[in-house]
């Protein structure tokens, strides 16, 4: 990435942040000249920056926003929620573009369409104002959006009517704009037809086909049912996942390949050891090459894991708009303060953090923040503050949601816990405040008497805790009665993903860390030898101890089939075969130390939550082998 693009990213992020703050301030106080000028200036500077790095599409979108704000400055338009929403949507798009530039180091492709949609959206806002002003019904029964679309399309036809130099450029440009308009109107089929006409027109002597295609499409537009209204902001596709999807796949592919490489390396280590034992003349060089490979692959693994590190801004940025929307829905004025958004964390955490954070922020808005009147009565400022904060503490990343609402009423928590049958009156009466607050994390606990739109029902803090623990973190809750609450997630900085192979033995699925697996084989039963009480098999002229996994771990033994399915594994200098009933899939998991009942089971390295909520036990291969030999 060149230095200009790098500087552009830095400045544009700051400007977006400033513009969001100014727009939200402007919405609170529509007469505030400073925030109006500030937001105008931010869009203006964003446009300038886009011009410097040759990002024309973004320049156009910024120009549209700037125009609208310029009208507000002249007094030609009023500040409305829709106008602020349009501007914020525009900034959302900018953030997506910036993310894409940051990931790929290049200007995003396909930005024209998005910029076109924004321009149409702003134009539609203007058209709606015009229609409202004249109090006339929309022309020819068209909705404002399609009136604007028609106007834009007529302009393209006029553009195409100009002959002479540059016609090819005009055909391409008009065709692109027209296709974008139809795409926006939910008619990708028509957009395709126009694109075809452009190709045809540019290739041959036929110069009229684009204008004709647009004209005929316009006729069908007027005849067609009204297009869908512009989607509300909240229903637009999630910008985070959209901009990340490609990148995530690439990184995951790299992580997965690195995992496979580690497995191959481990098999190689095994061979290096065999070579040494067999007095092979090449053993010294094999050994030293293995050493090199080992260092390189470990380095690669670290580098690949670094790729997965992202700033928490990715998650935080989405809350500006969400809090604004919630604030509107609840009619509770709330100011969102974001701190430490540059703090970095593993991609898995950044991606998974949104849901639990959203839940906590909703809780704060719904239960924490009091209605304005109640705040005024206790002498608090009418506008509540919710702070979203992140910081690095050693090997941990701490993420907090703090509100200045009423705090948690522990007496109420006690009552509810008793009502819901989570504990008896005597027990809760004797509980410390801390223990009472812990009750909130119990399944089935919810302090709202009514089902609210925001917090919903059924998903409570227990779900939040479960998802944070799945990430290897923990949740803390601090509350000051009447002064607010802090929900704190303490998360690991790096999430070590362990690649495991799943196997079934005795009706139970286990994970075997892939870096311990050398190979999987099927062995006819008659080739398995008994050595006293133990079993062994001969593998490439070496006798390898064979262990029945289910029996060793105390699970019921499955019926023996004709062939034995064996996983040959090696860990900590101990190797052998593990007989299993069935081989499963390979997967990346986040290991959690075994707790509670599971901690009593020998040879379990840890557990991991499966997608379906089930728990997979991951084996400590070395301990499995040691168990049987001792």
């Amino acid at each position: 990435m060149n230095e200009f693009l790098e500087q552009f990213l830095v400045e544009a992020r700051e400007l977006v942040e400033q513009a969001v703050a100014d727009l939200l301030a402007l919405e609170r106080e529509p007469g505030d000249r400073a925030s109006l000028d500030g937001s105008f200036r931010a869009f203006h500077t964003l446009k300038g920056g886009a011009g410097i790095v040759d990002f024309a599409a973004m320049g156009r979108a910024m120009h549209a926003a700037e125009d609208v704000l310029s009208m507000v400055r002249r007094g030609d338009r009023a500040v409305t929620a829709a106008l602020i929403g349009d501007c914020l949507a525009c900034l959302d798009q900018v953030v997506q573009w910036l993310d894409s530039i940051e990931e790929s180091g290049e200007l995003p492709s396909g930005a024209d369409a998005a910029a076109g949609r924004l321009a149409v959206r702003f134009a539609a806002g203007e058209a709606a104002i015009e229609v409202a002003k004249t109090e006339a019904p929309a022309v020819g029964g068209e909705t404002p959006a399609s009136a604007t679309a028609s106007a834009i399309l007529r302009e393209q036809i006029a553009l195409l009517a100009i002959r002479g130099e540059g016609l090819e450029g005009r055909i391409a440009s008009a065709g692109r704009v027209a296709a974008n308009v139809f795409r926006h109107l939910g008619r990708p089929d028509v957009a395709e037809r126009i694109a075809d006409a452009v190709t045809e027109s540019l290739a041959g002597p036929e110069r009229e086909s684009v204008a004709r295609a647009i004209e005929s499409a316009m006729e069908s537009l007027n005849a067609a049912p009204a297009p869908d209204p512009i989607e509300p902001v909240a229903n637009r596709p999630d910008p985070l996942s959209r901009s990340l999807r490609v990148d995530a796949e690439r990184v995951d592919a790299l992580v997965s390949l690195t995992g496979e490489l580690t497995v191959a390396k481990n098999a190689f280590r095994h061979i290096a050891m065999l070579a040494q034992e067999g007095d092979n003349p090449l053993s010294a060089s094999i050994g030293s090459e293995y050493g090199k490979l080992d260092r390189l692959i470990n380095g690669l693994q670290r580098a690949v894991l670094e790729l997965r590190i992202l700033p928490l801004r990715r998650v935080f940025q989405r809350f500006s708009r969400l809090v604004r929307e919630m604030s509107e829905t609840l009619a509770r004025p709330v100011r969102l303060v974001i701190e430490g958004e540059e703090t970095q964390a593993d991609k898995a955490i950044v991606e998974m953090l949104f849901e639990p954070l959203l839940h906590v922020v909703r809780n704060a808005m719904d239960h924490g923040v009091e209605p304005s009147a109640e705040r005024a009565a206790v002498g608090k400022s009418a506008i509540a503050t919710i702070c979203l904060r992140a910081r690095r503490e050693g090997e941990h990343v701490v993420v907090e949601v703090e509100d200045d609402g009423r705090g948690i009423d522990t007496d109420r928590v006690r009552t509810v816990a008793v009502e819901r049958g989570l504990a008896t009156f005597d027990i809760v009466a004797g509980m410390s405040e801390g223990a009472v607050i812990d009750l909130i994390f119990m399944a089935g606990f919810s302090t709202t008497t009514d089902v609210s739109d925001l917090s919903g029902r059924g998903v409570g803090m227990d779900a939040v805790r479960a998802s944070i623990e799945r990430l290897g973190g923990r949740v803390q809750l601090e509350t000051r009665k009447g002064a607010g609450a802090i929900v704190r997630f303490v998360l690991p900085f790096s999430v070590m993903m362990t690649r495991v192979m799943t196997v079934e033995a005795g009706g139970q699925w286990f994970g075997i860390p892939l870096d311990a697996v050398i190979e999987t084989i099927r062995v006819p039963r008659h080739e398995i030898r008994s050595v006293g009480k133990a079993h062994a098999l001969v593998l490439r002229n070496r006798t390898v101890p064979l262990i029945g996994l289910a029996a060793t771990l105390g699970w019921a033994k499955a019926e023996s089939s004709a062939d034995a399915t064996v996983v040959v594994a090696s860990s900590g200098g101990v190797s052998g075969g593990l007989e299993v009933d069935r081989l499963g899939a390979r997967m990346d998991v986040m290991l959690k130390p075994a707790e509670g009942l599971l901690s009593g089971i020998p040879a379990i390295a840890g557990t991991t939550m499966l997608g379906d909520g089930g728990v997979l036990l991951v084996l400590d291969v070395k301990e499995v082998f040691t168990l049987t030999t001792s």
Binding site: F4, V10, R41, G48, G49
Partner: protein, 127 residues
Amino acid sequence: MVFKILVVDDSKLARMAVGKVLAGLYPNWTRVEAANADEALAALDEQKPDLVVVDFNMPGRNGLDIAAELRRIRPTMPVAVISANHQQEIIDRANAVGATFLSKPITEPALRDFLAGAVRQIQAGAK
């Protein structure tokens, strides 16, 4: 002749863009940068630039105010005001304080014309 030019813009990216064009035209010139009015006035005092390019759109005091102030202190110093808003009003106001209006994004021919004119003006004044 080698000159010292002061570039005033709150966006570092924009300053970099001016710097790039300038480096192509006059690689030997010294470039001094300022991000706002206060920095610009301090630089005027400490660095004694020969000419100034200032962005119109900035928080706090805008580029026209800065240009007017700079011209008041140094009446013969060539000053250009850069703006993406190509409004006659801004052009007129720039001319009124004796500054040259340049439209944004800054292009090499526009900057070259201004700089060549400025060089002639400074040399004529020095004689």
